[in-house]
């Protein structure tokens, strides 16, 4: 396995731009779903040691609700859509009828969980289809699934394939919030991780030279 020193800031800039467009699509679809304007941060694309990833999710023990989908096809990897557990209830309340107090439509309820899963599925779907359009790569997504647990435990699932080959990960992350509301951490964040075998395919598709 080659070292990743060949990846320069130009490469990361291109990835960041892709993340920007992908997340833009994702924010638009979440906005349509919630009926609220969604703001997003400029995505950050970085090569980081894997053990720093939980810090980007609020820390290893931070309780989050996360939708995970494996990416298969030309550029294998993983996508996560996640919120802090408390924030995910806010997402769910926007999705469901906030007036029907009796049905307790929060994350603890089955109904709330399927609403959140569906939101995550739509967000991830629009992100990845924008990604596929831009890169011309064939990428498919697997069955999405929900877990409510510690960030460190959740991320270990997506990392396991990547870590066989490397101690670093290419990660692109974006954070979204409802426009006009106070900035909250991890209202809805998207995290993409690529397996090392995807790096060259990815940059080749983007027309970025890899000088080895």
């Amino acid at each position: 396995m080659k070292d990743f020193d060949f990846i320069h800031s130009t490469h990361l800039d291109v990835l960041q731009e892709i993340g920007n467009i992908g997340a833009g699509h994702a924010a638009t679809s979440l906005s349509a779903l919630l009926g609220r304007k969604i703001e997003m941060t400029i995505p950050e694309a970085a090569i980081i040691p894997f053990d720093q990833i939980p810090d980007r999710m609020g820390g290893s023990e931070n309780e989050i609700a996360a939708i995970y989908t494996p990416i298969t096809g030309d550029a294998p990897g993983s996508v996560y859509f996640f919120s802090d557990a408390i924030q995910s209830n806010a997402v769910i309340q926007q999705l469901t009828d906030p007036l029907s107090e009796s049905s307790k439509q929060d994350l603890a309820a089955q109904y709330g969980q399927s609403a959140f899963l569906e939101a995550g599925n739509i967000v991830i779907g629009s992100y990845l289809s924008a990604f596929a359009d831009l890169t011309g790569l064939q990428v498919a997504r697997g069955v999405p699934d929900l877990s409510i647990d510690m960030a460190g435990a959740i991320i270990s699932h997506g990392l396991s394939r990547l870590l066989i080959q490397s101690d670093v990960a290419i990660c692109i992350d974006t954070h979204m919030k409802i426009d006009g509301e106070a900035t909250v951490r991890n209202f809805g964040s998207i995290l993409l991780l690529f397996d090392p075998e995807s790096f060259e395919v990815l940059f080749k598709a983007l027309g970025v030279e890899i000088d080895e």
Binding site: M1, A153, S156, H157, S160, D167
Partner: protein, 161 residues
Amino acid sequence: MNEVVTIGMAELSCSSESALLRTSGLGSCVGVIIYQEGSTHAAMAHIMLPSVTISSNREHKIGKFADVAIPELVRQLRAKGAASYRLKAKIAGGAQMFASAGNEMMRVGERNVIAVKEQLNELKIPLIAEDTGGKNGRTISFDPTTHELTIRTVHLGTKVI
């Protein structure tokens, strides 16, 4: 209040002066504790994958693979004066965080637990207690003076093995 040694992903460490050993956010990973009966010798690893043989020859963190990390725990304990024939083990972790990802590769939690047990068996270290499998993340801490392993989960509360 005891001092705490925190072990990150793919790291391992020995306890010194009976400090608590702690690692957080174990998902498919397995936390392995090896300790010596009747003493405060103890060491913990946060193992992420079964074996280095399926890996490349790049440099890796020493605690990442079961087949590298467990012999290293024993080596470090012995270097501190532990008697290898009196070593015991406790393990926790190896969950499957996402149910739908059911293919062979992604059942890494289960494969991690098997690999850890094989290593312990090979090194003739008795496994005294375990809390493995399921679909919950775990944060664990081990007290080298009482040999109690405390396991905290988000949904199932805290237990001691």
